[in-house]
Structure formats: C-alpha cells, structure tokens
C-alpha cells in the first residue's frame, strides 16, 4: 500500500499551507488574517472545537475508515459518497417510521438499516468486480451519482415534508436523534461511536487473523491466495461490503446527529474527501481519527476564513487537494500493490 515516509503528512500539510499562502497572497487576501481566522474557526474556542471541528469530522472519520478498510484490501472503493447517501436515506426512513418507539430501539435500528443500505449500495460493484473483474473505480463512481439523484428524487417525492412546499423531508422525531456528547455544544454521540469504531478497526488490523489476511490480500493478492490459501474472493467481497456499510453508517449518523431531516446534497463531498483522509493517515485507523479532525478543522476554519477575511469557501477544496498531492509525492516510489488493482482485465 501507500507507505509514506514518516514525514510525509507533515510535508504535505506544510506544502499545502505554503501553496495556499502564496495563492491567497496572489488573490489579494490578507494572508495572516486569513490563516488566523482559519485557526480560530477551527480551534479558537470550545465551541469552535466541538460544534465545528469535531462535529464536522464525524462523517469524514466514518467514511475515512470505510475507505481505509477497502484500500487496505486493495479495493478501490471510490463510492463512499453514494454509500453514505444510501445509509442516510435508509436510516432516516427507519427513524421516521419507528419514531414512536423508545430511542434505545429506534437508534440501533436506524444504524443497522444504514449499515445494510451502505453495504447494499456496494453490492453491485462487488459482484461486478468478482464476477467479471469490472473495475470498481468506475462502478462505484457512477453509483455515487445514482445515489445522489435518487435521494433528491425521494426528497422531492415520496419523502417530502407534508406541506409539499420545501425541498426537504419532515424532521426526525425526537427519539430518533442522537444525544449530545459534549454538553453545551453541538457535538453528538456519533463522534464517540466513530472513534470507537476506529479503535476496533485498528485492533482488527493489528491483532486479528482476519485483519492480517485483509492486509495480505491487499499487499500480495497472489501470495495470499497461493501461499496463504486465502479465499480472496470471499474476503474481498466481505471487505467491500463492510466498507460500504461503514460509509452508510456515516450517512445515518449525520442525519440523526446533525441535519435531523433529509436534504438533497446532504454531503459536502465527504465520500471523496475521505480518500484524502484515509490516505493522509496511511490507512491506519487510529491515524484516521487525527486526519479526519484535521480536515474537519480545515472545513470549520474555512467557514470562518470566509466570514472574517472574505476568502471563498472553495479554498478549502484547494487546500485539501494540495495536501493530498503532497502526501502522494512524499510517498512516491511506492506503487499501489497488486497488479490486479490497477489493471482490470475487463473494465
């Protein structure tokens, strides 16, 4: 896999800051003011940390884990975005229908539904990859758009709020929303769930047999199959579906913890940013916590940068992109392992 040198992430962040500063300066912005706003917006206060940075990091953390899991096994799941939408819709629907039940029943049901829906959204690419070797990059990518449009259609049609005026659903009942984790802020318990999952995933990779075999399939698919007698097809399918499930969970957690209703365009491209999150963490689940918070901070800080220094929010994307390219350059020389990952026989 991508095994950056240890200084890779620092190089990348440094590069991103340097390039961003120059670009901001060229754009005529007050660089110290802008970067200062970025920092304060992200970490300047308890509210900034909890209600903005950490809250925004939750979907990034969950999708980042989904991507890290898949990539570890050499599966190029670019479809976390679509899987997130599928999970959001399923989670919302269960929460809305079962709103009368106590939270202890509804919430787990919602989360379970989102896991299933996310996995289901990954099922077609999984089958295609295993059956014909169709490149999962293309299938997962296309399904993202299908998920986004279908969600929009549902919100505009069957799931629209009762008056049929606004382009959104009715709000979730109280019992179907996630509680607060950090009193006095907007940070919901989804954050704790995501962190716990990161730790679990880390333990799986580090200590368990199945985690070891997943790494083996990702690093040396042939050796895993021949020397390790791993049924790599089944393992890959399981990982692919689990990755979809994690991304789906991100959708439900976001709806139940932040939006409390379904809106079209509910994700700000988290499923794509997740690739950067996972990569910057070198696919290490514990490090994903840190990188997800880093990207959450950039997004939180970006808002404040726009407000204070007039820097358009789109700069956030630029910073993220440069960070990713920086990481890749720092990790260069290491290629994606496994011949089959990059060169599909039939695509």
């Amino acid at each position: 896999m991508i095994r950056a040198r240890w200084w890779g992430p620092f190089f990348a962040i440094g590069l991103a800051l340097a390039v961003t500063s120059v670009a901001l300066a060229l754009g005529g912005y007050d660089v110290p003011q802008a970067l200062g706003a970025l920092w304060r917006g992200a970490f300047g206060s308890e509210q900034a940390i909890a209600s903005f940075t950490l809250k925004r990091s939750v979907p990034l953390l969950l999708t980042g884990l989904a991507v890290a899991l898949a990539f570890r096994a050499g599966i190029w799941n670019i479809g976390a975005e679509g899987q997130l939408y599928a999970g959001a819709v399923a989670g919302f629907t269960v929460g809305f229908v079962g709103g009368g039940l106590p939270a202890a029943v509804v919430i787990p049901a919602m989360l379970a539904a989102s896991l299933v829906a996310g996995a289901a959204w990954a099922a077609f690419p999984t089958v295609m990859k295993l059956r014909g070797g169709t490149n999962e990059v293309i299938t997962t990518l296309l399904l993202n758009f299908v998920a986004i449009h279908l969600t929009a259609w549902l919100i505009d049609g069957p799931l629209q709020e009762p008056q049929g005026v606004y382009n959104e659903t009715a709000p979730l009942p109280e019992s179907a929303t996630l509680g607060t984790l950090w009193p006095g802020t907007d940070l919901h318990v989804g954050f704790a769930l995501a962190v716990a999952l990161a730790v679990v995933l880390w333990v799986v990779f580090r200590f368990t047999r199945v985690g070891f075999l997943i790494r083996a399939v990702g690093e040396g698919p042939e050796a895993a199959r021949i020397a390790g007698r791993v049924d790599s097809g089944r393992l890959s399918a399981g990982v692919f579906l689990a990755s979809g499930a994690l991304a789906g969970l991100a959708g439900a957690v976001h709806v139940a913890g932040v939006d409390l209703a379904l809106y079209p365009g509910l994700s700000q491209g988290w499923g794509y940013t997740a690739i950067a999150v996972a990569l910057l963490a070198r696919l290490n689940p514990l490090a994903v916590i840190a990188t997800a918070i880093f990207f959450g901070a950039i997004q939180a800080g970006g808002t404040s940068m726009q407000r204070v220094a007039g820097v358009p929010l789109a700069w956030v994307n630029v910073i993220e992109a440069i960070t990713v390219i920086g990481v890749l350059i720092a990790a260069r020389g290491r290629s994606r392992s496994g011949g089959d990952a990059g060169a599909p026989e039939a695509a």
Partner: protein, 514 residues
C-alpha cells in the same frame, strides 16, 4: 572459423560493478570476435546478466574498459553515458530472456516499434519492415507470423519474432540471454542451427547459457564467469564438459549429486485421477515423483491442483485441468514464483510465516481463535532463521530485503514446518545460485529419508534436476501425463517425450505408459 578473422567485436576488460555491498562483477573479461559463436556461461548469480546489462547500455560499470567494434565506449576518459540507443547504434542487438514484445500488438506492429525509420513519427514503417523480414527469411530461414497478435503465438514463435526484431537493425553483435531456457528440445536444435548460420554471415554471436551440452555443441569459444570474475577463456576444442563445469562451480565435489538411496515407498498419500487418458498419479510417502515438461504445458495447473491451491482461472491453461484429487490435510507447496506467490515483499519475515500458518491452532488465540499470537509466530520465525540458515537482520526485516536464495529458504522453512504429508515443489531452484539450489535439493533428500516421510512431487522444467532427484519420472505435454519407463530415463529419452510440445502437432496419446 578460428583464425579467419580475429577482429574483436566486443572487448571487455577489468569490468567491475557493485550493487551496494554486493559485488556482481569483479575483473570480468570477455572478448567476442566477429564470425564466431561465443558462449558465456556461469552459474546463476555469476554476473552474466550484469555483464549483459552493461553491454546493452542498461547499466554503468564502476570500473573497467568496454570496447565495441574497436571503439571504446567505456573506460579511461570515456565515462560518459552509454545508453540503450548507443548500444544499438554500435550494432549491439540483444535478445532478452523475457521477451520484450507487446502481447496485444501484432507481430508486424512489434517489429515496427521503435524503428523510427521515418523520423516524423507519422507514417508506419510497414513496407520497410515487410521487406526486411522477407530478406531475413531468405537469408536465415526464419519464419515469423506478422499478422497475429503476439499473445496468440507460441513461445518458440515469439522467440523467433524477437530475434527477427533484433536482426531488423542488422546488428554486428547479436547477444542472446538464455534463449534455450523456454524452448522444447526440437526448437533448441533449430535455434542452434540458426546461430551458426548468423555467425557464418560474419556476425559476432554471444550466447549466454547455463546448459553446458547445448553450449558445447554450438560455440567456437567459451568464457566462464564465476562470482563476477572471468575464470576461463578457451576455444571449444580445448575444453571438456567436465572442465567447464568445474570452472563454473569452482569446486569439483559440488558437481557430484548426493548419493541416492533406494527407499521403499510407503503408503499412498495422494492420488490424482487423470481425465480421459486414465493416467493415475499415486503419490507415496518417501518417494519423489518428478514431472518434467516444457513451460506452458499445464504443469502449473497440475502443481497447484496437487497442492490443493485453486487453479489459475482464465484462458491460457493448456488443458491441464485437474481430474479428481484426493489430498491429505497437510500439503506443503513451494511455488515457482516465490516473489509473487510465495511471499509478500512488504511483509516482514514473521508476517510471511503467518501467511502460511495462520490456520494453525498453535498460533491462534482469543475467542474463536480470532486473534493471531504474534509472540509465537515470531519465536517460530526465529527458529526457522536459525535452523535453515536464513541470512537476515531479524524476524522483523521485510521479505523483499532478502536475497533470492534466502527468500527460498524462508519459503521452504515455512512450508516444511509441521511435517507435511505431501510436498509439491515447482521449479524450486530456478534463479538460485549453486548453494541455494544445493540447499533445496538437500532438503528434498532429507525429507525423502525422514522417518515420517511425505510424498514429494517435483515439477520442473529442468530435466537434469528431475532426473537427478526423482524415483519416478513423468512428462507432461499439453496437460497430459505420461510415465517414463525406467529404461528411458535419460536426457534423450525424456527430452524426446517432452518434444511433443512442438507447435501444431497433436499430442501423442498416452503411449509407453503400460
């Protein structure tokens, strides 16, 4: 052919090249004359490939002198680049061991690649290629298929295409790296005849090989490399097979194969029932069954089937699909491609041991055995490093950091752990130096004589290896197994049976089995 023309086409002196702390070449010397077939021989790891890479412009030497066609290309005051292109322009044409052909292009397209006759890059040099191919056929009798895609050609056809590709540029010095390794015996004869003819035209032909008998049949002169040094330069007439072999190995004793003892075969450990021809393969404890065949005749599929590994899917299998198989529980498998199929380069040694042992209850722990006991695995790895003499910095070093021989030791150590009932070894000594090959052979012998001996299958394209080690010998041709009767177990006898692999001929239906 000896003194007709003494002009040196290639003259190399004092060549030295190191890779890190490894000395690949150290005072290598080579002189190839126009109009001769010159054989460069040596064991694996003797430095042949490095020397060729220098000659082809792929590698820069650390020191020494290289002259091509009378002009110095490297040496005193000439340390500038000597690139692949320069090598061509000087008339050095190289036929690589791994063909440099693009599988999904046609023969003609492959021949057109990089010709750049029309420097514009627009018009394809089709006419030029066809005319040249025609002329080469007239001169040398080389037939190539221009219209089909290379992936549809047989190995022999591909090699001819590769040779034609090099001849297109009319090289004065033709270098062939292990050209016979992939060929059936019948094809080898054709190639050797061709080489003589090419030399007869006044070209210098440098043949790199490790099969002595072929070399001695065709060469005018011979250079032997050992440990990066030239240890022998002589006319063909002045040497014998024995003297060349001694020069290669540097140790007459190593030449003598370990004494074989007759072992009474034990119980049947595995059984493979062939599909249509009714050839059953019974593998008995304490017996080495050798399976010889030219590459691509289904032995890979057979080896994997016998090892209980899934067979390779997809086209290209030569009808070697398994029949019904009965296998024991503990099967060890030493795959041919250890770098890809045996080990994971980025994993450390302990992880690579875990790769084969992850199902072993002794290394599993926790609820349901879901966890791996890394302490136990590391201890096991250390033991293997010690017992099998694996040279490494420790169990946490990556497999990629090991030399080829030590990688193979690791694979063998892992697979033989825990007394397997069946051992399947596929070209287990390919690419190993003498010591490495010796180690593998010793291990197979030790196993055969062990108290609870497993059944052993040796699948190899190396006829000598099969003949030297096996109690029973089979050939495999197009996926069909045939047992070789005791009386015919000679190079010639077995070679003749492998010859069935020649193109376009129907396989002989299992004669000679009863």
């Amino acid at each position: 052919m000896t003194d007709r023309e003494v002009r040196a086409a290639v003259r190399i002196r004092g060549l030295r090249r190191t890779f890190g702390s490894v000395v690949a070449l150290d005072d290598a010397r080579l002189e190839v004359r126009a109009g001769e077939v010159h054989a460069l021989v040596g064991e694996n790891g003797a430095g042949k490939t490095t020397l060729l890479s220098v000659l082809a412009g792929h590698l820069r030497p650390d020191a020494g002198e290289v002259e091509v066609d009378g002009a110095s290309v490297f040496g005193a005051g000439r340390a500038r680049g000597w690139s692949t292109r320069d090598a061509w322009n000087r008339g050095v044409g190289m036929v690589h061991q791994h063909f440099a052909l693009v599988p999904r292009l046609t023969g003609e397209e492959n021949l057109s690649l990089g010709v750049r006759r029309a420097r514009s890059g627009w018009a394809l040099p089709t006419d030029w290629v066809r005319e040249r191919v025609h002329r080469i056929r007239a001169e040398t009798g080389l037939e190539v298929d221009l219209s089909r895609q290379v992936e549809a050609l047989s190995i022999g056809e591909r090699q001819r295409l590769e040779i034609v590709k090099v001849l297109l540029r009319d090289p004065r010095i033709l270098v062939l790296d292990e050209p016979t390794a992939v060929l059936a015996p019948s094809e080898v004869e054709g190639l050797l005849t061709l080489l003589r003819r090419l030399a007869g035209e006044g070209r210098a032909v440098l043949l790199v090989a490790h099969k002595l008998d072929e070399v001695l049949r065709v060469a005018d002169r011979i250079t032997v490399l050992r440990n990066g040094r030239t240890v022998l330069e002589a006319d063909r007439a002045a040497v014998t097979a024995r003297s060349v072999a001694e020069a290669m190995v540097g140790d007459a004793e190593a030449l003598d194969a370990p004494q074989r003892t007759t072992v009474e075969p034990g119980e049947v450990r595995a059984r493979w029932l062939g599909r249509t021809d009714g050839v059953d393969l019974e593998l008995r404890a304490g017996e080495i069954v050798g399976i010889a065949g030219v590459e691509g005749n289904g032995q890979r599929e057979l080896a994997r089937a016998l090892a209980g590994r899934e067979t390779a899917a997809g086209p290209g299998g030569s009808g070697g699909a398994p029949g019904r198989i009965h296998l024991p529980d503990r099967v060890a498998y030493v795959p041919q491609d250890r770098g890809r199929e045996g080990l994971i380069g980025s994993f450390d040694l302990a992880e690579n041991v875990a790769l084969g042992h992850h199902a072993d209850p002794d290394v599993r722990g926790g609820p349901g055995g879901a966890f791996l006991r890394w302490n136990a695995l590391v201890a096991r790895t250390r033991e293997m490093i010690h017992t099998f003499g694996i040279r490494t910095s420790g169990s946490r070093a990556t497999a990629a950091s090991l030399s080829g021989g030590n990688q193979q030791r690791l694979v063998v150590a892992r697979e033989l752990h825990g007394s397997p009932e069946l051992v399947v070894a596929e070209n287990p000594t390919r690419g190993l130096d003498v010591a490495g090959a010796r180690f593998v052979h010793d291990q197979l012998h030790r196993l055969r004589r062990a108290k609870h001996a497993p059944a052993i299958v040796l699948v190899s394209t190396d006829l000598d290896e099969v003949l030297a080690l096996s109690d029973r010998v089979f050939t495999i041709v197009r996926g069909r197994l045939t047992e070789v009767p005791e009386a015919e177990r000679t190079r010639e006898g077995v070679g003749a049976r492998m010859l069935e692999a020649g193109e376009g001929r129907a396989a002989r239906a299992g004669e000679g089995t009863s």
